[in-house]
Symmetry: C2
């Protein structure tokens, strides 16, 4: 007998209210006055709520978060390298294991409706595969509730820190999903060697790539060209993401447009966290050019920033405010980056709220997608694989 | 017998837990194990919560909000003048009375902990004093809970719209607290005439001034000089606010520093809403120069913007993110703008959480002021004049 769930009286964006029947974790039927196949099937009264697909968190660092610990006043200096150095010292001095905080923030992410998540895990000779192993354990712990992708992330660089390349390769063998990279020039100091190393691993292992890219201006634009060349040469279209891509917001508009065409052609996705006080990619221009764009929280209360709360609707609001978005059409675009755009970038199959899609969704007492971004708040019911697992901001699985 | 309230076991920032006894709306005693003068005094168990002074909303438009109405998809065009025109048409076509929405958003503001509020009310020949009368009625309705200041605001200009000056004068006579102004050059097209008109009314009526100031670059800087000259000439130090002051974020840093000294000397306050995609004042530089700086929501779900929710802790977060603030010291500065800075700018007496202060405060289950900004959420208990009036985001008075 199929495992079923009946959701009564919910609305999908732009459609009238209907019932929705889930069988074995898949949306099996949508229509008026549905009845389950047997008695005793659980029923959720939808109260005419808006039903949206599960939110997608495309970039987070679960291995770094201090979520659930006492308040941590920010201490790291202003430079990227200051933060990298401070975090290493802090985790070491505090003898902090990442698992408890990672589990706490996963519960928070679920309560906010994110069920497809890509997290980076630092890989360095000092840490070895400790952080990757921690996130593999977290993935196992929450396997019934979330889809967690793990990026083996060389936070300190690859060429700059001998031994890192072999560790990333090992991390993939161990179960990490994606090869990470970081500022080929500004951090690793040798763009060709850096990119050849990480693309080499990805090619050999048959996995994707996700590159932290804080380089600004023309230096960043140059890296993007090198990334696109390797993506084309290795046939990795659709499997490469450039995270942050600050340069796309800090070069001449004509250059941004040229790079957008390049990214679209090589199917390279762009992730932004909508940062507060640095340049970031013009998401509407990128989307209009056919580039896949997605959103991530990045830091969530860690040694890098006191902010972040794993709420992708808040992240969509921040993106909208930073982008000057006000119309419903623009807010729908921001919403899309936190849902369909993220799902496409992460390669999630059967994503959405149509018959045949995975039964991963969120119910909110709002009229429209735009209103979910404007109002936000904990008022959400989260269904994963056909089971209610969070309500009013509280994880209940 | 004095009207009393005992709050047990609360912490003020940086101090150990204590009890707090309120008599007749004033904080009468703070200390360990306090007991009320008589039996039957209401007691709030503080649970070791952080106790902060009531938040200060220094700039809002209660007469424009659509809060509580069905979702309004943004329709106005991109220019300031587009929004001014669209709003007039919309309110007229919908035959909208401002009072119900204003009352709804006041309840929201209270639930979020704002008890000292400055709202603008449009004054135009077409509207007459209708909007001012609406906010006077709202002030009366919530007189026991909030301190509401009303600015008679010439949204369409003063010189540009004959009759407006006399209406502002009437509005003050009717009970509005502050004379408003708007972009003396960019909107009203005659900076000297505009400023002479509004300073003339303020001088004659013995009230303060609050000028909407969206002018950027050197044009805005020029207006600020003219405002400072008139403030000095009329002895209005401490009674003039420049709201938005975008120009302070869009001129050469040396010019900003020079204007900051001028503003400090003439005790002119600066209000920012920490906008998402335009330049705004560098608040740390201004504070270091001795300028009073405060925060406002500005639009709250109206014809101007779908965003805004009357939560001054969220506004402080937005300011912090836009300003690159991360340390506790910087977050404390953002917090200060939403509390003490606002109280000083609005001339609120006996503000704070010391003995002798008005018993207007908020209890939150967080460790520090910085954490209140990072975490936010509805988890707040709001006490006004010694009475609990909101809890967990719900207005209960």
């Amino acid at each position: 007998m199929a495992n079923q769930l009946l959701i009564k009286n919910v609305r999908r964006q732009g459609q009238s209210a209907a019932d929705l029947l889930v069988r074995n974790g898949i949306i099996a039927e949508i229509g008026p006055a549905l009845t389950p196949d047997t008695a005793g099937v659980p029923v959720i009264e939808g109260n005419n709520d808006l039903l949206i697909p599960a939110l997608v968190e495309a970039h987070v660092h679960f291995d770094k978060t201090l979520w659930g610990l006492p308040w941590h006043g920010h201490q790291a200096g202003p430079l990227l390298t200051d933060r990298i150095a401070f975090e290493r010292e802090y985790f070491s001095a505090q003898n902090l294991a990442p698992e408890p905080q990672a589990a706490a923030v996963v519960r928070q992410a679920i309560a906010m409706g994110s069920l497809h998540i890509r997290s980076h895990a630092d890989v360095t000779p000092e840490l070895g595969l400790r952080r990757v192993e921690a996130l593999l354990a977290i993935r196992e712990q929450f396997a019934d509730q979330i889809n967690l992708q793990i990026v083996a992330f060389p936070q300190l660089g690859v060429q700059a820190v001998p031994g890192t390349s072999a560790l990333i390769d090992e991390a993939i063998a161990l179960g990490a999903d994606v090869v990470g990279g970081i500022d080929p020039s500004a951090i690793d100091r040798d763009p060709v060697a850096h990119l050849d190393a990480i693309f080499g691993i990805a090619d050999r292992r048959g996995v994707g790539i996700d590159i932290h890219h804080h380089e600004t201006g023309n230096l960043g634009a140059f890296s993007i060209e090198l990334i696109a060349e390797r993506t084309r040469a290795l046939g990795l279209q659709g499997r490469v993401m450039i995270s942050h891509a600050y340069s796309l917001g800090s070069i001449a508009p004509s250059e941004t447009a040229r790079l957008a065409d390049l990214l679209a052609k090589q199917e390279i996705a762009i992730m932004t966290a909508a940062p507060g006080n640095v340049s970031f990619p013009p998401v509407k221009l990128l989307r209009d050019a056919g580039v896949t764009v997605c959103l991530g929280s990045d830091s969530i209360r860690d040694c890098w920033s006191p902010f972040g709360n794993a709420d992708m609707l808040e992240r969509a609001m921040l993106l909208a405010m930073r982008s000057g978005f006000r119309t419903d059409a623009d807010l729908d675009l921001a919403f899309d980056l936190a849902t369909y755009g993220g799902a496409h970038a992460l390669g999630v199959n059967d994503y959405g709220v149509e018959v045949g899609c995975q039964a991963d969704f969120v119910l909110l007492p709002y009229e429209t997608q735009a209103e979910t971004i404007a109002t936000r708040g904990p008022n959400r019911r989260v269904v994963s694989a056909g089971a209610l697992i969070a309500n009013v901001g509280v994880y209940e699985a």
